[in-house]
C-alpha cells in the first residue's frame, strides 16, 4: 500500500470511466473478507447500544432540554407536569372512590401511583413507536447510534416520572401511608420498567419506520390496555368480593401491563411483595430484549433508508 501524500496524485485510474470490473486499491480485498463489517451483525447491534450509552452526556442534556422546552416563558415551569397529574388523580380518585365505594385513604394513592406508572409506560410505547420518525432530521445528518434517540426518550420519561412522583410523596404524607422496608423494592421495580421501556421503543420504533401504520395502531392498543389494566378499578377488591366478577377480574392477570404496574405500585403504597408479578415482568424483559436485539441486528442499518 503506497503512502498518500497531500500533493501527489493517487489512485491508478485517470480520465477513464471505470468499467464494472474496476481495479481495486490495495486495501479493498482485505475488507471484503471482513465479516465484522457486515451491516447485519450482532457486533454492530451491541456496538450501537454501547456507543449510545457512551454518548450519555449528549442525550442526557437533550432529555432535560426537552422538558424545559415545553415550559419556556412560563412561571411554574415543569411543575405543571406534576400539577396536571395531581389534578387528574384527584378528580378521578374522588369520583371513582365514591362510585365504587372505596376508602379514599387507600384509593387515592392507588390511583395516583397507577396513573404515574401508566404515564411512563404509555409514553415510552407511544413515543417509542415514533422515536426514529420524529428524529428523521438528526438521523440523516449525524452518524449517531440509533440507541441515542431511544435513551433520550426513556430519560425524558424518567424525568417526567421524577416530577410526578412528587404527587405520590404528597399523598403519602397526607394519608400517612405506612411504608415498610419492602417499599425499597420500588427501586429495582423502576429499573425493570425502564429497561422494558427501552426495548419496546427499539422494537416498535424500527418497525414503525418501515410501516407507518404502526404508530396509530400502537396508540389505539395502549388506550385500550389502559382500561383493561386495573388503574382506575381495584381488581383485588373485586376478587375478594367473590362471585363472577372475581373470575373476570382474575383474567386481568393475563394482561402483562398489570404485572408491570403491580411491581412498582405495591411497594409505593405499602402493599406486600408478590413474587408472581416479578416472574412475569422479568420473563418479558428477557424475551423483549431478545426480540429487540434481533430486530436491531437485522434492520439497524436500514432505518436511515426507511425514515
Amino acid at each position: 500500500m503506497h503512502p498518500r501524500m497531500g500533493t501527489q496524485a493517487w489512485g491508478p485510474q485517470n480520465a477513464r470511466v471505470p468499467s464494472r470490473t474496476m481495479q481495486y486499491t490495495a486495501a479493498a480485498p482485505e475488507i471484503t473478507a471482513d465479516r465484522a463489517l457486515s451491516s447485519r451483525s450482532w457486533s454492530r447491534a451491541f456496538g450501537d447500544l454501547r456507543a449510545g450509552w457512551q454518548q450519555r452526556r449528549l442525550w442526557g442534556h437533550l432529555g432535560w432540554q426537552d422538558i424545559r422546552q415545553g415550559y419556556r416563558r412560563s412561571v411554574i415551569g415543569p411543575l405543571w407536569i406534576t400539577i396536571s397529574l395531581g389534578v387528574q388523580a384527584l378528580g378521578m380518585g374522588l369520583l371513582y372512590a365514591a362510585l365504587f365505594g372505596q376508602p379514599i385513604a387507600f384509593f387515592l394513592p392507588y390511583l395516583a401511583v397507577g396513573l404515574i406508572i401508566w404515564q411512563f409506560m404509555a409514553s415510552c410505547i407511544n413515543e417509542g413507536a415514533e422515536v426514529f420518525i420524529r428524529n428523521e432530521g438528526l438521523i440523516k445528518h449525524l452518524p449517531a447510534p440509533l440507541s441515542v434517540h431511544v435513551f433520550r426518550l426513556v430519560w425524558r420519561q424518567l424525568l417526567f416520572f421524577g416530577h410526578n412522583v412528587l404527587v405520590w410523596a404528597a399523598l403519602v404524607v397526607i394519608f400517612r401511608t405506612h411504608l415498610g422496608w419492602g417499599s425499597l423494592m420500588a427501586l429495582p421495580a423502576l429499573a425493570v420498567i425502564v429497561l422494558n421501556g427501552a426495548w419496546v421503543a427499539i422494537l416498535i420504533g424500527i418497525i414503525a419506520t418501515r410501516y407507518r401504520d404502526i404508530p396509530p395502531v400502537t396508540t389505539s392498543v395502549v388506550t385500550l390496555m389502559f382500561f383493561m389494566t386495573p388503574i382506575v378499578w381495584n381488581y383485588q377488591d373485586l376478587i375478594s368480593k367473590g362471585g363472577p366478577g372475581a373470575q373476570r377480574a382474575r383474567l386481568a392477570e393475563l394482561n402483562p401491563f398489570l404485572h408491570f404496574v403491580e411491581i412498582l405500585r405495591r411497594p409505593m403504597i405499602g402493599q406486600s411483595f408478590e413474587p408472581r408479578h416479578w416472574v412475569v415482568t422479568l420473563a418479558i424483559t428477557v424475551v423483549g430484549w431478545a426480540a429487540a436485539l434481533l430486530i436491531l441486528r437485522n434492520y439497524r442499518a436500514r432505518v436511515s433508508y426507511w425514515v
Binding site: 480520465a15 442534556h61 422546552q69
Partner: protein, 267 residues
Amino acid sequence: MVSIDVCGACVNFPIFDAKTRSLKKALLGTVGRAGGKIGMDAKVPVIEALRDITLSLRHGDRVGLIGHNGAGKSTLLRLLSGIYEPTMGVSRIVGKVAPVFDLGVGMDPEISGYENIIIRGLFLGMTRKQMEARTEEIAEFSELGDYLSMPLRTYSTGMRVRLALGVVTSIDPEILLLDEGIGAVDAAFLEKARERLTALVERSGILVFASHSDEFLLELCSSGLWLDHGQIREQGDLRTVLSHYKGKDPYENLSPEALTRVAEATR
C-alpha cells in the same frame, strides 16, 4: 490512525409511497398471493444513488468532491460518514467523523447562544468541557457580543451562520466531511472565516469537501474525486480532475488574490 475504506459500495434508496408503507397492504398482499393477486405490485421502486464506489482514504488526504447537481456528492458524504451503510459492498470507517452538512443542525432556537455552542459541539462529538474551553474564542470570532445570552430565535440568519461557523471551525475533527453549504456566507465574514477554515482543515486527519467553488477546492484540497451519476468518474490530482470536469484549467478563472492563496496552500 484514521482511515476510510469503501469497496464496491452501492446505495439504493427505496421509494415508499402510501401503498408500500402500509402494513395492511403488505399483509393482504401475502394472503392474496395464495389465491391470486390483489391488483397491486408489492415491489418497492429503488433509486440507485451510488454504484460501485471504491476508494481508500488515509490520514493526510484532502479530497475535493466535484460533480453536477444530483451526481450523488451529498449521498457519498453521508456514506463516508456512516449515516448510510451500503446496500451492497462494504465500507469501513476508522476514526471519529465530524459531518458538517447542515451548519446549524441540533441548534435550538429557544435557548441562548452560549448553550447552543455547547449543544452544537456535543452533536459534533466534543465533550462539554471542551466546548466550554472554546466558548470564548467562538464568541470573539462570531462578534455577537451580548446577543450570545439571548435565545437563538432573536438572531438574524447571518448571525446564526456566524455562530454555527464559529462552533464548527473550533472542533478537532479526525475525519472532516464538508458539504457545499459552508461556503455560503457574506463576503466580509468569509475573509475571517477562511483563515479559521484553513486552520480547521489542517487540524483534520482526513478531509472530504464537496463544492462547486474552484477557489475553495484548490485552496483546501489536493486530490479530486469526480462523481457522475452515482459513479466515480475520475480520481486523482485535483487540478487535473477539475480541468477534465470543467473543460479548461481552473487556474484561468481565479482572481490574483485567490491564486496567491492557492499557491501558498500547495506550497
